[in-house]
């Protein structure tokens, strides 16, 4: 009965109730959408971290380290060939990597030269699609190199010009090679654009004086992120005694951002709900003060405080139950739509690409988060109803009854 009284009470002032329910709907819609947008932005970041930078898994010799000891080599083995063929693995490749200096006639800088297997690398890192000038490892006789647009600017070099890369070989002797620029790429991460140079692996092997089957780094892309840990363990069995890392270990800042995402987002939703709760408190207070006499009569005939409190609280919860699903539905609809078509941010800001963010965001939100937001909204309604309900309890039946 209290359920039905509360329900009917909210329809006594339709405009007011719909206004409150509507603002709850609007607030949740905005909150959920902001959340999905931020999550979409993070997804881009994760995508770039995995598909352009680290891959899911990386293997190095334990002594490779940040100094990139050129002698810290790994050897190809049959288990590796079996490993990379399994269905869970999307693609895999091996690289040689040396740190050194790059010079042109007009400039110089620190660099990392990667010796890659071009057709494997194309599947591994989107390198091929990032090419803006020249071609992707054309068949040429002389040593060639692919450099970032940023570096080309810095060194003031153009396609087909030569640059000199110097580094120490496995024996610790400095060697230098002139490489012809056959391609210029542009990634979304300008910091990497300036440092990473790509050449063919056999070429670099020859320059380093190492076997062309050996490598410094093996990288693996998986079909799904979910079996990251088990495949990481599997990879360690393929290369026992090596350092096998997943992308979360390689890019802890990305992992940190993801794990703090929920906290930040619930703070945002919390602030929205806090703002809404002021409206709810105000509305319910009006509803209580308008019904002073009626509440007095209810108390006179024997409706106890617990029930009166419950009645006011239920009215508030109903408003939230009216508004929340509507808001979440529109949130779902707009997230679904923009999730498919994406939101292109490059029109608004050029800065995005600089920090390694992709410019097109696809908002996305887990189903569980809809439930959590809905739940938060109902809890807010309960909390917001406490004060008006408390005020209703403060009414003395005799004062109420005297008011005609």
């Amino acid at each position: 009965m209290i359920l039905s009284i509360a329900w009917r009470n909210i329809w006594r002032n339709k405009t007011r109730s719909l206004l409150v329910a509507g603002s709850i709907a609007l607030g949740l819609w905005a909150g959920a959408f902001v959340m999905s947008f931020a999550w979409g932005l993070y997804q881009n970041n994760i995508h770039d971290v995995i598909y352009r930078q680290y891959s899911h898994l990386q293997v190095h010799h334990t002594s490779f380290g940040p100094d990139m000891d050129p002698a810290a080599l790994l050897e190809d083995n049959p288990h590796w060939q079996t490993f990379r063929m399994q269905p869970e693995v999307r693609s895999a490749t091996t690289r040689l990597m040396v740190g050194g200096m790059v010079r042109s006639g007009t400039g110089a800088g620190a660099c990392v030269l990667l010796g890659v297997v071009p057709f494997e690398e194309a599947k591994q890192t989107e390198l091929k699609s990032m090419l803006i000038q020249g071609r992707y490892f054309p068949k040429v006789k002389s040593p060639q190199v692919l450099i970032g647009e940023k570096l080309a600017h810095k060194l003031k070099v153009k396609l087909q010009q030569k640059i000199v890369v110097s580094f120490s070989d496995t024996g610790g002797n400095i060697t230098a090679s002139a490489l012809r620029i056959t391609g210029i790429y542009r990634s979304r991460n300008t910091a990497l654009d300036e440092r990473l140079l790509f050449t063919e692996k056999p070429m670099l092997a020859a320059m380093l004086g190492v076997d062309s089957n050996s490598f410094h780094q093996a990288v693996v892309l998986l079909q799904e992120d979910s079996n990251l840990e088990s495949l990481q363990a599997g990879l360690l069995r393929v290369f026992p005694g090596t350092l096998v890392q997943n992308w979360k270990q390689l890019s802890p800042e990305t992992d940190l951002i993801i794990s703090s995402f929920d906290l930040y987002m619930y703070i945002v939703i919390g602030i929205i709900l806090l703002a809404l709760s002021f409206g709810i408190v105000n509305t319910m207070l009006m509803a209580v003060l308008e019904r002073v006499r009626e509440i007095g009569v209810l108390q006179s005939v024997g409706m106890n405080k617990r029930r009166i409190f419950l009645m006011i609280m239920l009215e508030t919860v109903y408003l939230s139950l009216l508004g929340s699903p509507v808001g979440l539905f529109f949130a779902w609809l707009s997230i679904y739509y923009t999730g498919i078509y994406g939101i292109d941010l490059s029109k608004f800001s050029e800065g995005f690409t600089q920090y390694g963010f992709s410019a097109v965001v696809h908002p996305v939100l887990d189903t569980s988060r809809y439930y959590i937001i809905g739940l938060m909204s109902i809890i807010t309604a309960i909390l917001a109803s406490a004060y008006p309900a408390f005020r209703a309890l403060q009414l003395k039946p005799v004062d109420a009854v005297r008011k005609i």
Binding site: E294, V297, V301, N304, V398, V401, I404
Partner: protein, 238 residues
């Protein structure tokens, strides 16, 4: 049906001793009720009369446990209600007292039927028992055909009849009515009083009501007159 001891030795329903209520008014304290003794037995049909401001409403509120006296006590059906905690008092009202006020007695969102049934529901009475009783009461107050109307669709007289039915629904020991006819025209006022008198006779329900209306006073079997919070006369009619 309530078992009454009418005819043998009537039981005391209300026993008020040395009842006083002082309001701390704007300038001076107002003695709204001043040392009232009141003794009412089961089955009585009593009117409280007196000029405006004489303390009629205050007295009914004190007896009904809506207000607390400044001194004195009220024993209602053997329970000293002036000693009850607020929650116990609400529960006591639910089970033992029926109220009819001057106006706005009903919950506007509930139909006549629901308004009457509501109190029984608060008492936790089973649905079938409840529905039967509501039907009975609607018939007694002559509103069977208006059972599913909300108060806004009922006339003032009809609303007061529903209020009387609701007051009876909980099978209270006493029904307290504060100027139940004040907002009604004389025909409706007469009808309501006749209804109350009939219920008093046929169901032995004890009524205590306040009024201004001389025609209503005529129908009472006992008339208590208040002036300035004191009982100045207490007459029994035949």
């Amino acid at each position: 049906m309530e078992t009454t001891e009418a005819g043998t030795q009537a039981a005391t329903v209300i026993d008020a001793h040395e009842l006083s209520k002082i309001y701390n008014g704007r300038q001076v304290p107002v003695k709204a009720i001043d040392g009232v003794h009141l003794h009412i037995e089961e089955g009585e049909f009593t009117a409280i009369v007196g000029p405006s401001g004489s303390g009629k409403s205050t007295l009914l509120h004190l007896i009904g446990g809506l207000d607390v006296p400044s001194s004195g006590n009220v024993v209602l059906a053997g329970t000293e209600i002036t000693k009850l905690s607020e929650n116990k008092l609400i529960d006591f009202r639910l089970h033992h007292i029926g109220f009819v006020f001057q106006a706005y007695n009903l919950v506007p969102v509930l139909t006549a039927r629901e308004n009457i049934g509501f109190v029984m529901q608060l008492q936790g009475i089973a649905k079938d028992v409840r529905e039967k009783r509501v039907q009975e009461l609607l018939a007694q107050v002559g509103l069977t055909d208006k059972a599913d109307c909300k108060p806004a669709k009922l006339s003032g007289g009809q609303q007061q009849r529903v209020a009387v039915a609701r007051a009876l629904a909980s099978r209270p020991r006493i029904v307290l009515a504060d100027e139940p006819t004040a907002n009604l025209d004389s025909v409706n006022a007469g009808n309501l009083l006749d209804l109350m008198a009939r219920l008093n006779r046929e169901e032995h329900i004890t009524f205590l009501f306040s009024t201004h209306d001389p025609r209503v006073i005529e129908k009472a079997r006992r008339v208590i007159t208040l002036v300035d919070g004191r009982v100045v006369s207490d007459q029994h009619h035949a």
